[in-house]
Amino acid sequence: MNFKNSILSVLALSILTFSSCEDDNEPVVMQEPMSAKNTTILNDTSNYTATINLTQLANNSALRMNTTDHPYTNALNQSFNVTKLQYLISDVTFFLNDSTIIVDSGYHYVDLTNSTSLTYMIKTKIPAGTYSSVGFTFGFDEEDNISGAYTDLNTLGWNWPAIFGGGYHFLRLEGEYLDSNNTSAEFKTHMGTASDGSAMPRTNEINHFDVILPNSNLTVSSDFSFDIEMNIEEWYTNPIDWDFNVWNAPVMPISAAQKALNSNGSSVFTFKQQ
């Protein structure tokens, strides 16, 4: 999954472009340094607009927010509902069938109370062609997760505290679960830098993850759109079954919880094209 690690040397050369999230509309085209071949022949040399719909699923249907009951269950059969969902994706990446990748260096903040945030038109125009898959970074990678660097996110208070490693939140997934006494209790699953307070001094580990969406091959020959689906229950299982009785709130200072979200996150997202 760590596709960007495999092209680290290219990244180093491209760091200026990569860390700018505001104004670069030109695609960043990269090739793996070991590969000289680029055999894709494109008759259509146009670039097209990609529109991403951010959708959220729970129990195989569209997520229902603020329900009075607890309609969803995690892998430990604990019932829960969702009252808040905000998250951040960045560096949407298109993989050509050869070794070329196209990275849009922007980021996008999703808040389910703001319907316009559910659509993300990336700035980079995507060249016509056949792509083997689409990916993105959940949260910010280490080049981009710079404390205070994004005014819109600062304004929202989306910062991750410096004492826990700084940068920004990647996820706020909140709701209520039925605890071991069958009483409704709140959980606040916040994700960002994994900070370990048991170490002296406290250690902080980067905690974003790269997603290559399964079955996300697509052919681009016109402006296009696709869905990135978040499957809510997957945050709480596969491989680590999340126990709301143990990890409800706070989880920001708990390194193991942060890493569990990272591990579980790899199966959270799916691709869909109409």
């Binding site: 603020n66 404390s147 205070g148 005014t151 819109d152 600062n154 304004t155 929202l156 208070g157 910062n159 505290p161 410096a162 004492i163 826990f164 909140e174 209520e176 209790a185 709140e186 959980f187 606040k188 916040h190 709130a249 706070p250 989880v251 920001m252 200072p253």
Partner: protein, 354 residues
């Protein structure tokens, strides 16, 4: 009314003699670190002008806005108290009527709607212009009709001329009055506390005279403020990069088992019962008493409430509100940090006085 003449002079100086309506754009001066957040929200139909701001200030201190010409906006929003009501739990309207809420302090309002898009404790309005309509006609506040206000102002020697300069018409109506007041309110920027200076030095490398380092207690208090699992204040009250020290969101902090309707009064949504606008933590030294009903006289009481006094069964309570189990030392440290957010230059700024 000597103050009015001063304002008139100011406006006169910027008016070219040969033109009637040429308002001068007003450049909002922002502290350098305010570039960490979005630009202030200035409505396209009410840009800041020197003449508009000056008129707005004059109107802010104008007692003719009340039924018996006894009180002005400033009566309950005093500049020396960060535009709060001088220690009053609830403010007194015309004839001594008691309002139902503690008067909110006024500063950094140009960002007041960036997230929640609402003003007032219970979110009753979505713009500053709209907000200014309320107190004049409120039966517990100024108890006046806008028709009367316009008529009284129209009948003066100076106001028609000042409206002409600010808005290009000497016909005074309520829409222009609230526009001018909102312009003035958007200039009320507070960003020069000890913590601001500390931030500018440590984050921006800007040298500022004096010792702006945090004491050990203030520094520990900041960590408590920022740590989920400890004080965890920042999720609602913002971070150093967020500058405003409020997210402006509406939250039920668990004051009462049967809370005031709060935002639900406006939205009619049961999920909003008990939710009030999260106030900024700037200038707390000037804004006691605290909470929407002014129930806490001191910061010690406020911190102890969050530490041990939250009504966890309050409907729609924010899930963070549970006993924090801070020690005596931690509570003192937290208050020490909060007091680094006081901005003395804001409350003494002559630009905000009549």
């Amino acid at each position: 009314m000597a103050s009015c003449r001063e304002d008139d002079d100011t406006v006169d100086q910027v008016m070219p003699p040969d033109k009637k309506y040429t308002p001068t754009p007003y450049a909002l001066e922002l502290p350098p670190h305010f570039n960490y957040i979005n630009s202030p929200i200035i409505p396209a139909d009410n840009p800041l002008t020197v003449e508009g701001v000056a008129l707005g200030k004059k109107l802010f201190f104008e007692r003719m806005l009340s039924r018996d010409n006894s009180i002005s906006c400033a009566s309950c929003h005093a500049p020396s108290e960060a535009f709060n009501d001088q220690g009053m739990v609830r403010s007194l309207g015309v004839g001594g009527t008691l309002s139902i809420r503690n008067a909110m302090p006024l500063f950094n309002l140009a960002w007041g709607s960036v997230t929640s898009r609402r003003f007032n404790w219970h979110g009753s309005t979505t713009t500053l212009e709209q907000q200014a309509f309320g107190p004049v006609r409120d039966p517990l506040e100024m108890q006046e009709s806008w028709v009367n206000v316009a008529s009284k102002l129209q009948g003066t020697m100076d106001y028609p001329r000042l409206f002409e300069k600010a808005f290009g018409t000497n016909i005074i109506d309520s829409n222009l009055v609230v526009k001018a007041i909102a312009q003035f309110e958007r200039t009320l920027i507070s960003g020069d506390s000890k913590f601001d200076r500390y931030f500018l030095e440590t984050q921006e490398g800007i040298n500022i005279p004096g010792d702006n380092s945090l004491t050990p207690a203030e520094s520990r208090g900041f960590d408590i403020f920022m740590a989920e699992g400890s004080g965890d204040c920042f999720h609602c009250h913002g971070t150093p990069f967020q500058i405003l020290w409020t997210t402006n969101e509406f939250v039920n902090n668990g004051l009462d088992a049967n809370p005031d309707s709060g935002l639900a009064w406006i939205t009619k949504n049961a999920l909003d019962v008990g939710r009030f606008k999260t106030p900024s933590l700037r200038n707390l030294a000037f804004t006691a008493p605290y909470m929407h009903d002014g129930r806490f006289a001191t910061l010690d009481e406020v911190v102890e409430f969050y530490n041990s006094g939250v009504n966890v069964n309050s409907p729609n309570i924010d899930g963070r509100q549970k006993p924090r189990n801070l020690t005596v030392q931690q509570k003192a440290d937290l208050i020490a940090f909060l007091n680094t957010l006081n901005d003395s230059s804001f409350v003494t700024n002559p630009a905000f006085r009549p």
